[in-house]
Symmetry: C2
Subunit: 136 residues, 2 copies
DNA sequence: AAAAACTGTAACAAAAAATATTACAATTAA
DNA sequence: TTAATTGTAATATTTTTTGTTACAGTTTTT
């Protein structure tokens, strides 16, 4: 994960929730997040793929939430943007001739799985609606 | 976190544990991990700073565990290599003029804290000794 | 005392990853 | 028909990560 995809996606979802169903343009979203509109559109593509949002093309188009904010939990959002593991393994190629090196990746994997599940469980305690409620 | 610091550190610690107190050179470690020896020495510097290992300079020098493997839990190791947050914020500078943008970082932070604590709790269930036991 | 094998560390280079920019076809609304 | 917008690709730029080189300092061995 590019490590900022989660905050970007959550930011988008929070803004769409705020809009209460009105369509919001990627231009507007990128203005609040302060990143490039094309990146926003890419994230939206992913959010759409996962059923969180829908978009409308053409003039006056934009995006809006595809489900109720109380039916989107943050663990799901995390999983939608997750690409690599939280704990590492960018390009981990230990020496296969070393008895430790040869086996370590499988052990790391199981460690990562457990840790990541704990992370997801923590995030899943909150829905988008809960999160949005914190803004005054 | 550079996302591979955790696996590198854990790899180092596992190898040092395997050595049962004998000093191990950064050259040897880097051979098993398959990364540059200078990177290994940098990680060792950090592990040393956190009291996990000690090093011996000069000919025949190297590193060894500074405490018993059963007194090192993986949550501590994670925290020793942790630099940025697991969930993001590389350079998150939302628009302060937007009511959502203005507040989102503080809410993300508290979310991250909870999630990361859950991650650490999961990792802390295992010590280095437990981890090393998995290698055959 | 000299040589050899290390660590510690800095400075720089290269590679990889993330982010931004530009461009434009397709769509829709006014 | 024009304007505003999405979708998407291609490319460029920036940032981050990783590797390399270099060398002073330390310790052991001869």
């Amino acid at each position: 994960m590019s490590n900022s995809r989660f905050p970007i996606s959550l930011h988008i979802l929070t803004l769409l929730n705020e809009a209460k169903g009105a369509v919001v343009s990627s231009e507007y979203l990128s203005g609040s997040i302060n990143i490039n509109p094309v990146l926003v559109r890419k994230e939206i593509m992913n959010l759409r793929k996962h059923g969180f949002v829908e978009s409308k093309e053409g003039k006056g188009g934009g995006s809006f939430l595809a489900k109720n904010a109380s039916d989107i939990n943050l663990g799901e959002v995390y999983q939608a943007v997750r690409s690599s593991n939280v704990l590492g393994q960018s390009k981990n190629e230990p020496n296969p001739k070393c008895p430790i090196g040869r086996q370590i990746n499988q052990h790391l994997d199981s460690l990562y799985n457990d840790a990541e599940n704990a992370l997801i469980a923590s995030l899943s305690k909150q829905t988008l609606a809960d999160f949005a409620l914190k803004f005054k």
